[in-house]
Each structure stands twice: as C-alpha cells, then as structure tokens.
C-alpha cells in the first residue's frame, strides 16, 4: 500500500513564486516528455496561469502507508448499506459486495495519512481562471427528436422514467429482508 506523499501548497505569497517564465516552459516540456515516454507521472499544473510553485515537488513521491498509521477499519451498519444501495441504485448486499466496499474504504483511508492541516482545498484546476460569461442569446435547443432517440422508453415527446418517490421499506420489512440475506 502506498499514499501520495504530496501536498500542493496553495495561497502562497507572490514573493516565493519565481517570476521565471523559463521555468514554466521547462515544466511544460518535462511534463510533455514524461507523458510521451510513459514514465512515472510528473505532476505540474500545466493549466495554471501561475508559474511553477517551487514548494510543489516536481515528481510525485510514493510512501507505503502501514496499517498502524490508518484509522480502525470502518464498520458498515445495515442501514448504511441500505442507504448506499438506494443512492447508488445498485444492490450489493452480498458477502462479496460488502467485502468490495470495505476494501474501497480501506484504500481511501490512506488519505488520512496525508497532512492537510492549513492547506486550503482546491476546487478545480480552473480556479484561478476567469469564468467565461455568455450573452443571453438562444443558440441551442430544438433537438427533441435527437435526444428522445437516446431514451429506451418514450411516449410522444416525453422521456419515460420509473415512478419517483418510491418509499423505503419500513424498519420491520428491512429486518426481515436482512434475516433472509446472506448476512
């Protein structure tokens, strides 16, 4: 097991940003070449309009995260499974399905090892770009036929979907369902 030992520092003062454009070109080149060569990933913020931040390592580093560094494995109560099944619209209430879920959570647990204190989370690689605004003029629409073709079921010009608002089974129903399941 390994985790990203890399944290991008954000909000650094302009002083420590090297105003070198050569650096940007170099980075661009190195990223492009490593991509072409298919070697280990070289993380640079190509789309960022700021030059390369020296606090960000140029190469991703990997460290194994040992079990004792991780929080105790998550317990998944039955009603959470219930909720997840509903949200995901996927049934996984089998031993195999639950093992898969537990493994996925354990994998993500490694993120806890990364020290993110005082690091403002990043929303998007576009966050320092100006948001493009569009004029209020009609340019799209009128393609109902094309869109309806994509749907399995249609009636006249409507999409057809299963009925909404299907209520969850009651607690009792759920209990009896669990009794008969593999759990």
């Amino acid at each position: 097991m390994s985790a990203f030992g890399l944290v991008a520092k954000r909000g650094v003062s302009p002083k420590i940003i090297r105003p070198s454009f050569n650096l940007l070109t170099n980075d661009g080149y190195s990223a492009a070449s490593s991509f072409l060569q298919g070697h280990n990933t070289n993380i640079t913020r190509l789309l960022s309009s700021q030059p390369h931040n020296p606090k960000v390592p140029k190469v991703a580093t990997w460290e194994p995260a040992s079990e004792d560094q991780l929080p105790p494995p998550a317990q998944i109560p039955a009603d959470l499974v219930d909720k997840l099944e509903r949200l995901a619209l996927v049934d996984f209430r089998t031993k195999q399905g639950l093992a898969c879920l537990e493994k996925a959570i354990r994998f993500a647990d490694q993120l806890h090892v990364v020290d993110t204190s005082s690091v403002e989370p990043m929303d998007s690689v576009l966050e320092d770009r100006a948001l493009n605004l569009r004029a209020d003029a009609v340019t799209e629409g009128g393609c109902a036929e094309e869109l309806l073709q994509l749907s399995k079921n249609t009636i006249e010009e409507y999409f057809v979907a299963p009925p909404g608002n299907i209520p969850l089974p009651t607690k009792e129903e759920r209990a009896s369902m669990l009794k008969h399941s593999e759990l």
Binding site: L87, E127, A130, L131, R134, E156, E157
Partner: protein, 555 residues
C-alpha cells in the same frame, strides 16, 4: 419536548392565561395570541412570577425560488419559455449528455446582482458553484448546480407592509432579513402516470436560472409571510428580474413553520410546500401554526417533515419524499471557476472583456423605482393617504390607471383615489378581475368624474352611472346620463314646487328649524333628493328650503 413536559407546560399555560392576556394585549402581530378556552383557568391560583406566562407563537421562514426572466437558461443557450412542446427547449447540456459543459449566462448573474442590490444585500465579489446531489428523473445529471458555500448575495433585508389595525386601514411596516440569494438550476417537470406506474419527463424547464432567496424566520403568521412575498413579487417585477407569476411557477414559495414561546429556542419545524398563490400561502401557514400548537397542547411532538398544502381542504398533509435527513453530498462544481463581480469600472483588471464583466456600480445605476419609493412618491405628489398608496401599488396596473385618470380630469387626486379604490377596485375584486380587465377605461372614468366635477350630475348619480357603465361597457357616461335622464335638476321652478311639497308635508320639522335647530334642514334636503332620485342640485335646494322655512317663520 417530551410528552409529560409538554402536558405540564400546557397546564401552566392555561393557568397563566389571565396574566398573559394582560401582558400581551398591546403587542403587535409579532406575538399572536391564541384563542383558547379560558373558562378552566379562571379560578386557578396565580403562578409564580418566574414562570412568566408565555403562549406559543408561530415562527415562519421562507425559501423562495424565483425563475430568472432571461431568454436562455442558466448554463446553456436553449430558450426559456413557459409553454412549448415537451423537450423542445433542451440542449445536450440540459439533457446531461456526457462531455457537455456549463457556460454561465451573464444575464442571470446581472439579474441576481440587481435583485441583491434592491434588497440591500452585500454582493459577494467572489462566489462559488457547488453540486447538490439528488436522484430524480427530471434532473438527469443527478445533481443540481447551486451556490451552497458562497452565494452571490448575502445579508439583505426586505421591508414589507400590510394593512392592519381595527379597520384594516393602518399601514404596518415590518422587515425580514434575507440570508442569501443564490443562483441555481431549475429541474425539469415530471408527469406522474400512476395508472401505468411511470413518469413522463419534460426537460424544457431543466436548467432554467433560479434565484433562491432565503428569508430568516422573522415572520410570525401567514399574513406577514404573504405580505413579504407580495412585496418581493412587486420588487422582482419592477426590476424585471423575474415575472413573478406564482401560478406559472415563476415564483415558488416553501415555508418553514415552527412554534415556540417567545424567548425560548425555536421549535421543531415543518416545511410546507406546494403553495401556488399568495392567498394560499397565508392560509397554509396559519393552518400549520395552529396544527403544531394543537399537537403541543395535546402533549405531542411536532415532526420534522415536509408537508404539502391541499388548497381544496385548506389543510397541510405529510409528503412522502423525505426519510430522515437527506444527504445531498455537496461538492464544488469542478467545471466552473469562481464567479467574480467587480465593484466599478475602475476596479476592472486590464485585459478583461468589458462585455464579460459584471459591474455592480453599472447595475446600481439602472435600478428602477422600487415599490416603496413609488408609494412615497404617490403620497407626496398627490397628497393621498399612505394606505391608499399601498393599495394602488399592490394591484397590478392600478397606479397607471390612477395616473391616467388624473391626466384627463380636473377632479383632485384625493377625490379620484376614492373612486379608483372604492368603486373601481371594489367592483373588480367582487368579480375577481384584474385592472387590465376593467370594462371601464381610465378615460371613460375620467369623463364621468368630469361630469360630476362640473356639476352636471350629483355624486350619488355618478355612482349610479358608474354601475351602468360597468354593466354596458362601451357607453360613455354622458350617453348614460342622457338616456336615463340623470342630469342634475337645476330648473328653479321645478325645484321650488318639490320643495314646497316637502315643506308643506313636514310642519314639525319646519317648526324645529324655525326654533333655531338648523340641522333639521338636512332632513328636508334628504326628502327633496328622495323625490328627485338624487338629481336635485344640492346648492339650489338648500337655498330654496332656507328661503321657504324662513318665510314661514316670518309669517
């Protein structure tokens, strides 16, 4: 609150009924007194002072979704229209096809900023977009793009008025705080086919720009909430940022209702949805407040739930959709960088395209006259009463009607306002019509008022002519006066003989006048008007009657 606790508080509440009514009689609508039977508590001993009697009052907060009046949707270039064939106003983005990206409509940002300014909000220089996840077929992406973390406008106020007091003629002014205004996408529409257990989806509305306005729980009853929504509706319509038609869903109101004792923490709230008119809003809220009070007084607990208003029964009923707390799994919208607005042109960074920039100062400059300013102007310009200005502005088109009448008549505004509000609006309300549907045009009413003002008809006849004009629209006031022979009788000889008849048949009254009780003359005048069906020239009649009674006294 546990059942026993609630029962105990009910007991206390009943015991304290007497004191509380003394304490709270003078309070305004903020503290709404309950009408509970007080017979039980009359003989109860006086409670201790610290368990000061307090009654349950309603607390109302509103969440309002206002559809932005724009040509195209919030993030796509497909048109916004209320009536169109299903799925004809849908782009690939609106249908959430993979690979499509949102492109923000500048008009929607301008509208939100303008609305924020009109409601004295702080406009956030930077605001962010987030995804709010929920699964309905009318939201095919599985999430709605909204502004959860940092909305475009925050911390505003809305000042609203309503007519209160004993005669409902007193303008009561209140303020509600606006927590925030956020930009978000509307969903499509679902048609439920219960018979075949399926849902038909029309995505024409999916992605239309909404402004969600969150009002703090500063209101206490349906009437206040209705007045606040009406004022907001007028403001949005004045700004042109939302057409505000509730029946077409351009303005949708959800009410968060709870009850508590003043000073104590807020009670558990229920959310009331499905309200599609201002009138129903007031009824739904008052019903819900009373329902919760009844539950607590019976020792029960209010459920945190979503309820729908059934306008037929006038009740709120539980909705099935929410099971416990919903987890929307908010996350930043990765496809949209932060939205930046600029204070003025000077603060624009170099190199930015001017037609791309949202500049607060520019929008502030083009803010139109807001309803509150319009009311003040009407009061100052025409010398009418504040409550009249309130009624004028509250009815769509009535201010224009009033001003159109004024332009073509010599009658003073204070007389005209009486006609417009009492006669015209009275008739319109009676038949549930809008000002634009009035069978009497402003110029026709002006002609009628002119006939009265110049002394051709009496005021009572003018009322009669108004009725005729209402029934047979198209006929002018003058035509009706001539047809029905309603012109003022100013023929002195004719009036003399009528007056003589009245004087002769009422010797007692004449004697009273002769003995100095001049007021009795009015009674005789009334009798003369009765004879002439209100058509006698009152000035002439008074002179003739005075002459005749005095003559008699001289005899």
């Amino acid at each position: 609150m546990s059942a026993s606790c609630a029962a105990a508080s009910e007991l206390l509440h009943n015991m304290n009924k007497q004191i509380s009514s003394i304490l709270y009689t003078k309070a305004s609508c903020v503290i709404r007194r309950l009408s509970t039977s007080s017979s039980r508590c009359r003989s109860q001993p006086q409670p201790r002072a610290e368990s000061a009697p307090q009654q349950l009052v309603g607390v109302v907060g509103l969440e309002i979704h206002a559809q932005i009046n724009s040509n195209t949707k919030l993030f796509s270039g497909s048109s916004v229209r209320f009536t169109a064939p299903p799925n004809s106003l849908v782009s690939f983005f609106d249908a959430s096809l993979p690979g499509t990206l949102p492109v923000l409509n500048k008009r929607c940002v301008d509208a939100a900023v303008m609305t924020g300014l009109a409601l004295s909000c702080t406009i956030n220089r930077m605001s962010l977009f987030d995804r709010k996840h929920y699964f309905y077929a009318d939201l095919p992406a599985g999430y709605q793009i909204t502004q959860q973390r940092r909305p475009i406008a925050v911390d505003g106020t809305l000042t609203y008025c309503f007519l209160g007091g004993k005669k409902r003629s007193q303008v009561i002014r209140k303020t509600v705080n606006i927590k925030q205004i956020q930009l978000e996408q509307d969903s499509g529409k679902s048609l439920h086919d219960d018979l075949r257990s399926q849902t038909l989806i029309d995505l024409n509305r999916a992605g239309v720009g909404l402004m969600e306005l969150v009002m703090e729980p500063d209101m206490s009853c349906g009437e206040e909430a209705a007045a606040a929504v009406r004022e907001l509706q007028l403001i949005l319509q004045a700004l042109g940022t939302c057409q505000g038609n509730m029946s077409e869903g351009q303005l949708r109101v959800d009410a968060n209702v709870s009850v508590h004792k003043p000073g104590e923490p807020l009670g558990i709230r229920a959310e009331v949805k499905n309200i599609n008119s201002v009138r129903y809003l007031a009824r739904a809220i008052d019903y819900e407040i009373q329902r919760q009070i009844d539950i607590l007084q019976r020792g029960g607990t209010v459920q945190n739930e979503t309820r729908a208003y059934d306008s037929k029964s006038g009740e709120t009923v539980p909705m099935r959709d929410k099971e416990g707390l919903q987890d929307y799994r908010f996350m930043p919208e990765p496809n949209l960088p932060p939205l930046i607005v600029y204070e003025d042109n000077a603060s624009l960074p170099t190199g930015i395209d001017a037609c791309q920039a949202v500049v607060v100062e520019t929008i502030r400059k083009v803010l139109p006259e807001l309803p509150s300013v319009k009311r003040d102007r009407l009061v100052q310009t025409y010398g009418i009463l504040p409550e009249h200005s309130f009624t004028l502005v509250n009815e769509d088109g009535l201010v224009d009607y009033f001003e159109a009448v004024l332009k073509v008549t010599k009658m003073g505004p204070r007389k005209v306002i009486g006609w417009v509000i009492k006669e015209l609006l009275g008739h319109l309300k009676q038949q549930d019509m809008s000002v634009s549907q009035s069978p009497i045009s402003p110029s026709a009413l002006a002609e009628l008022l002119e006939l009265q003002e110049t002394g051709h008809i009496s005021s009572s006849v003018a009322g009669q002519v108004f009725q005729e004009m209402w029934k047979s629209s198209g006929k002018t006031a003058l035509q009706i006066v001539q047809e029905l022979d309603l012109g003022l009788v100013s023929d002195t000889a004719q009036l003399h003989s009528i007056c003589q008849k009245v004087v002769d048949s009422n010797p007692d009254e004449v004697n009273a006048i002769r003995n100095g009780n001049k007021k009795v003359l009015n009674k005789l005048m009334g009798l003369v008007q009765k004879e002439t069906k209100g058509r006698a020239d009152p000035v002439l009649v008074r002179a003739i009657l005075q002459e005749k009674t005095l003559l008699k006294s001289d005899c």
